[in-house]
């Protein structure tokens, strides 16, 4: 055992955080009556400080401060709220039936002859081509009208 007593700084450190002290200091304090008494004194002192009543403001500080801040920017306007609600409503109207009747929707196309499916696809393709050609002509006409030269 080290015969010289640790200084007060080391005793304070021992009381605050035993693990941060070296083994020799720890062993000395734990086997020395004088140092144990010193450590005990500090332990009582630290505990008493921690149990002191805390001061508190006797007024509503958050309220007073918030009154003096510049006005808050609107987080969610009424228009945004209505638009959000409508989008949600439409999603529900489409999504819920799709979810509930998903089995019937999948079965709807089973049992149909391939010829019938190809006919539908061919008809759809022809309609798309005609519509595209019409759009192209309309576009060309507008370009021609806007050509002032």
């Amino acid at each position: 055992m080290n015969n010289s007593h640790p200084d007060e700084l080391e005793i304070q450190q021992y009381v605050l955080d035993k693990s941060s002290c070296s083994d020799s200091i720890r062993n000395h304090i734990e086997s020395c009556a004088v140092c144990l008494e010193e450590a005990g004194n500090y332990r009582v002192l630290f505990s008493a400080i921690e149990h002191q009543s805390t001061p508190a403001f006797d007024f509503d500080l958050p309220g007073l401060v918030l009154q003096q801040l510049p006005p808050a920017s609107p987080q969610l306007t009424a228009d945004r709220f209505i638009a959000g609600f409508l989008v949600l409503f439409i999603c529900c109207c489409i999504g819920i039936p799709l979810y509930l009747f998903r089995i019937y929707l999948l079965n709807m196309f089973s049992g149909i002859s391939p010829f019938f499916i190809y006919s539908i696809l061919a008809s759809a393709f022809v309609i798309v081509v005609i519509k595209a050609f019409e759009l192209y002509r309309k576009y060309q006409k507008q370009i021609h009208l806007l050509n002032y030269n």
Binding site: E8, L9, Q12, V34, E37, E38, G40, N41, Y42, V44, L45, F46, A48, I49, E50, H51, Q52, S53, T54, P55, A56, F57, F59, L61, P62, L64, V65, L66, Q68, L69, P71, A72, S73, Q75
Partner: protein, 197 residues
């Protein structure tokens, strides 16, 4: 600062909300930190009427400088730093006559003795009495010591955080705290020793 803020995520979330214009988030920040700020203001400002203005001043400064907060420390530590500096400015401006100052320690004479320990005397006094005596002794300490002791032992601020709050080197903070604790221990021991006689 090397100490990583423990609650940086919640700090960041609150700061972001305030910067986006949500003043209610700032109300939460005030609520979360007002005890820490109160400890500093009550220790450093002796005039009760001034504390209300100072507390508001601290948080208005915090609000206006919030965009500049870089999250290099906990938000509470940064606010405590503003509180400390604001109190220092008020003390300088108002020229308070403070009961304790840093030089008071020079007149302090050590009357420490090993013959009687607090533990022995403690059996004769109530805990409440100890608390009252200790409060008086803390109030007799130099203001800086009072502030450091309460922030360390009551608000559990680390040495590094205290260094940031006060702008002192961490070594100086440690040294002041050591001296403050020693002074308190010796004063309490001497008190109990006198009573025992």
């Amino acid at each position: 600062m090397n100490n990583l803020p423990e609650n940086s995520a919640s700090d960041k979330h609150l700061v972001d909300r305030v910067l986006r214009g949500d003043n209610r988030a700032f109300g939460i920040i005030v609520k979360n930190t007002e005890n820490l700020v109160a400890q500093i203001v009550f220790r450093m400002i002796p005039v009760a009427e001034d504390r209300k203005d100072i507390a508001q001043d601290i948080y208005l400064k915090t609000f206006h400088n919030l965009a500049g907060f870089k999250f290099q420390s906990k938000l509470s530590t940064w606010i405590a730093q503003i509180a400390y500096n604001t109190c220092i400015s008020w003390v300088e401006k108002k020229k308070y006559t403070l009961p304790g100052n840093l030089h008071e320690e020079e007149n302090y004479s050590s009357i420490y003795g090993h013959s009687k320990s607090i533990n022995e005397s403690e059996t004769r006094i109530f805990e409440k009495e100890l608390s009252i005596i200790l409060r008086k002794e803390i109030e007799n300490l130099p203001i800086l010591y009072q502030t450091l002791v309460t922030l360390f032992h009551h608000e559990f601020q680390s040495y590094e955080e205290l260094a940031m709050i006060t702008g002192l080197p961490a070594g100086t903070v440690k040294s002041y705290l050591f001296r403050a604790r020693k002074m308190l221990k010796e004063k309490l021991l001497s008190k109990y020793k006198k009573e025992a006689l």
